[in-house]
């Protein structure tokens, strides 16, 4: 169980730092009126979505260990590891899909890497349902 907590902390804090840094970069793009960012409304939108999702999902990953109990048996611990993996994957894929979708977007549609977003979204929803189930099922 401690391994899972460590994994979530490492991933969560690293991800939070990375996406906060990304936020700083887009604030700088605002500050320096970077045309490549400001003049393309779609790119502008997906980069903001990348930052917002990156930060919030990093916090979700950091919060996940709070649902773990030290007395979980092996079956529950394995399930918790899978859930943690799903949440971490979602926290990676969703913001990365948005951010990479900003590269070579088509008018009205982000670039093809945005396909990572619905995959990450499915993992996130699955992970959250499992976490909610666990919260109801186990004391």
């Amino acid at each position: 169980m401690n391994d899972e907590i460590r994994r979530c902390r490492r991933f969560g804090w690293t991800s939070l730092a990375a996406w906060a840094l990304f936020g700083l970069a887009i604030e700088a793009a605002h500050g320096f009126k970077l045309a490549a960012y400001l003049d393309d409304s779609l790119r502008h939108t997906v980069l903001r979505l990348a930052h917002a999702h990156g930060v919030i999902l990093a916090l979700v990953v950091l919060a996940f260990p709070a649902t773990l109990a030290p007395d979980d048996d092996e079956r529950r611990a394995r399930a918790a590891r899978r859930t943690g993996l799903m949440l971490r994957a979602a926290a990676l894929l969703i913001p990365a899909g948005f951010a990479l979708g900003a590269i070579a977007p088509h008018e009205g549609d982000p670039g093809w890497p945005v396909v990572l977003v619905p995959i990450g979204g499915a993992l996130l929803v699955g992970g959250l349902i499992r976490t909610a189930w666990r919260a109801w099922r186990f004391r």
Partner: protein, 601 residues
Amino acid sequence: MSRGLVALALAIGVTAGAAGVWAKRRALAADLATARDLHGAGYAGSLACRRCHPDHDATWSRTFHRTMTTEATPANIRGDFSGATLRHAGVEARMDRDADGGYRMTFATPGAPPRTAKVVRAVGSRRYQQYLAAEGDTLWRLPVAYHIEEKRWFPMTGAFLFSDRATIDDVARPRYGGGVFDRHVTRWNDNCVFCHNVAPNPGRDPSTGAFQTTVAELGIACEACHGPGAEHARANADPSRRYALHLAPRADPTIVNPSRLPPARAADICGRCHGQRITADVGPFLAHGDPFVAGDDLTRYSRPLGRDTPLRGDATAFAARFWEDGTPRLTAYEYQGLLQSACAIKGGLTCTSCHGMHEGDPRGQIRAPFAGANRAGAFEGPTVTDQMCTQCHVPLAAPAAVAAHTHHDPAGEGARCVGCHMPRIVYGVLDVHRSHRIEIPTVPRNDPLDAGYGAGRPDACTLCHVDGLAGREKGPHPSLSLFTSDPVGRAVAADALGRAPSWGGDERSRRLGALLASMTEDDFPAVRHIAWRSLRRLIAPGAPPGEGLGADFDPSGDIPARLAEVQRVRRALGAAVHDVDVRTLFVLSAIASHQQLEIGE
């Protein structure tokens, strides 16, 4: 759950997903390979297009195409409806708003009860704006329009090449001011509707003559050039279809992309409106609308009007719309000009070679790479650079080649491609425009028809060298044509006298005298209008409307009012004006033609 079951579920899921992707790919490939007949297809409207094409929507929204026809709302109305009045031909028109905020015009004629018309739509938003009122199942263009740059009202009779002596014709129309004041009151349903809207259908019942007019969208919107887009919007709501098109760029058969059409078919899209046409049987057009859809061959339904096109057996019916060599002399014939150009015949030039529907200044929509410096005045778009021509005529891009080719200073206006190859010899919407028949100029064009200084076509050289070319036989040149030509020729001459560079000596003072004489003497208000604008270019360049010398001149005003303003300007200019000798004016004016021109209604 055992490890084996998880693996099995995973395998089934992956297999099902792969099969789904494969089936989808096949379906998409078949869909994209299936050509569509867009005739009779549904229209989606520009709002639906904007969801996927926000950038194209934004660049189109800036254009005057979008606002070609609009509902009469505060966002669209450009005219002064604060109670402004206009007096003309014994009628007083008052433009104001009713208690509900609606726009209206009231026409008062001595001896007749005043007539109020509620404005329901507006046409135009660049040079001037015209207004439509409803009468039963029809809409009618009202007899008064608002000049946007000059910020004043004027009678529609002043916008056409009609003389002060014009008389009313026998066309049935509602009475607003009555008599000649109403001469250009025109039914929208079977006239304006065709070129100023998407998918126009007059819906005229051939048995009763009643109208049930419909358009897919007011103004010139996306589907005027891209064809009906309902299926396109519906099909591309599926993101996998969109990404299939993004990742393997190919034509989507549910829509027309003019840039993928052959040059002639692309030009046909513009030619539908920028090339007056005639059809063997107008009945189906009036009953069911114009069948042309972007991508069609325009000649399938109609043919472009030419100088010799007969109308009910009369081969001269349209002759006055063209110079004697067949070059169009009115706007909305740019398509004919293009068809006559070697650049199109041999070089594959099309409208979008120079104009961009989604780029450039809305005034002229010259493609961004070819736009030069901005000019003074709200009407005038930026100048065009030679790059427009040298994109094909590459060897002429070098200054040395320009000097050798033009015999003019390569940096000067005289060496610009369009100056000689697209001279300003076309009248339309109270302005003189460049010819779209791109050709090699003749120096000077001493046409036999012009031996009597009649309606001969002006040549490119003397539109700058307005007094004629030194050392050459004197052909028609603007200083003479201003008095001797027909109305289009006089309008062209008046425009040239305002735009041409000043050659020094007493040339400028003679030009001022000629323009003042035209403003007083010409019996065509449109010619006087252009003469006045040319005078303003010379004596008050860049002055805002209503300010500076000569601002109060009203080209549609009566003779005493015009004379008073001309005399005031004359006094202010003093010795700077060399007046035209009255006897010379008398002789020259006797040669002039006063033939009025129906422009296309």
